[in-house]
Amino acid sequence: MNAGILKAEGLCKSYKDKEVLHDLDLTIEPGKIYGLIGRNGAGKTTLLGILTAQNTKDSGSVTYDGQPVWENQKALDDICFSRELQPTLFSGPNNLKVKHYLRSAAIYYPNWDLDYALRLLDEFQLSTKKKISQLSKGQMSMVTILIALASRAPITILDEPAAGLDVVMRERFYQLLLEDFAQTDRTFIVSTHIIEEAASVFERVIILDQGRIVENAPTEELIGQFRYISGREDVVDQACTGLQVLSAHQMGRHKTVAVRGDVVKLEAAQEADVDISPMNLQNVFVSLCGHGDAQ
């Protein structure tokens, strides 16, 4: 798959008076699976919309292979942005049947793989005769996933694909994604709330917090910088010298801290009489973004 490089530079976007994206830079390299994680309202869908020219930006640039994506046929042909289906858009006279929706996708996506689409329809047991507004939440997610995978677009973006799926279907989704990736080496960007399950699928993770990218790194490398250190408070404090402390909890003299640091400093901490345990991606995310503002 010859995907170009999708690059955003200095992206800014405001809605009314609220700045949703601040001076955002992002480069999507081809042939990787990216995870885009962030809290509700962090700006994930807005960012993805702007990257795909489906949303307008206030300033900055988004280019594909050096050319702006706006009204760019090549970029639009190579990119598939599969959003969550909104039932409100399919009400009344616009109540499409699934088969019309899929036929529309087949019209627009130049790389549409009909056989693959049919196999997925069969596996998901989706009836094409049903109207979209009659589908359950899970079935709507399955349609989203089907469109994304069967589009065979060099850059495929999925926005909350697993929402509405039960755990068994979610596992199947990750499997399908990895199978497709292994075969085609497409670029995937998956935006999700369900962080820990998906962590092992992402080669790189992008963390968006309040309109800024706070992390964009290989998943395991990022996680490797974080630890929980716990023990007696004075020993813990001593062990934390040279490390960035992100949060601390205390019960009596028992103290647990979440820290971040490089490999060397973390190793040094092991010498002390403390328990050190790794953090998973979800823990890392909450540590970085878990400031309790209301949404």
Binding site: G49, T52, Q54, N55, T56, E71, N72, Q73, L76, D77, I79, C80, F81, R83, Q86, L89, F90, P93, N94, L96, H100, R103, S104, A105, I107, Y108, Y109
Partner: protein
């Protein structure tokens, strides 16, 4: 642009077929109830036949409205270019207008060709006699306003409803004026009155209003399409 045309055509062809089918039903109904032979028979089918051009115009408005409510969002979400979508929309509207014009010409000529007893009411169908461009112009205006109403309905409901009200008023007024201006007796009477000059210029003024609505509407449609944010 071809892709967007194919996409929109999926929704258009059933509607156009419905118009054609309806015409067939009305003609058949006329034959079945003996309308062609006897000018005295005035029933539902006869009325529909007489009013058919008007009905076409209103159906075009409704179809354009329905076409534009969510298909822009859908097309763009599949990666359509905005300008491609705009021009595909234009192609759809032009083809629909041409098809309906052909239908209107056919319906106007048919009674004569098929030897139906002539009726005065059916002068309506020939209202565009001498000004054949009026029907396509009116169709275009109806469709453009219908499309714009549909687009705005999604963006801001209040504005959409307002535009629907304005469109219906403008379109009904224009239709009424065009019908009246083809009633030769009535026109002769009005032209003799004090405001005769007003009535004389009304058809051209109406045509101008329709043309301006169509052009203005198109510019607005272009603007809406360019700035649209996909949900």
């Amino acid at each position: 642009m071809v892709r967007s045309f194919r996409f929109l055509f999926q929704f258009t062809w059933p509607n156009l077929s419905a118009i054609l089918g309806f015409a067939v039903i009305v003609i058949a109904g006329c034959y079945a109830t003996g309308v062609p032979g006897d000018t005295g028979i005035g029933n539902l089918f006869e009325t529909y036949y007489a009013m058919f051009p008007i009905m076409i115009l209103f159906m075009l408005y409704i179809y354009a409205f329905a076409l534009c409510t969510s298909n822009l969002n859908l097309g763009l979400s599949f990666g359509a270019r905005r300008r491609d979508f705009f021009w595909a929309l234009q192609s759809i509207m032009v083809s629909s207008a041409l098809l309906c014009w052909a239908l209107q010409l056919f319906l106007a000529a048919f009674p004569g060709l098929a030897g139906w007893a002539s009726r005065e009411r059916w002068m309506l169908l020939e209202m565009f006699d001498g000004r054949p461009w009026i029907f396509p112009l009116t169709s275009a205006a109806f469709m453009v306003l219908g499309c714009l109403s549909g687009l705005l309905m999604i963006k801001r409901r209040g504005l959409g409803i307002f535009l629907i009200a304005v469109s219906i008023f403008v379109l009904m007024a224009a239709t009424a004026i065009l019908i009246l201006s083809s009633e030769t007796d009535l026109m002769e009477f009005l032209l003799d009155t004090e405001w005769g000059w007003l009535w004389a210029s009304l058809p051209q003024a109406t045509a101008a209003v329709l043309a301006v609505s169509a052009v203005g509407g198109e510019l607005l449609i272009w603007r809406v399409v360019q700035r649209f944010v996909v949900r």
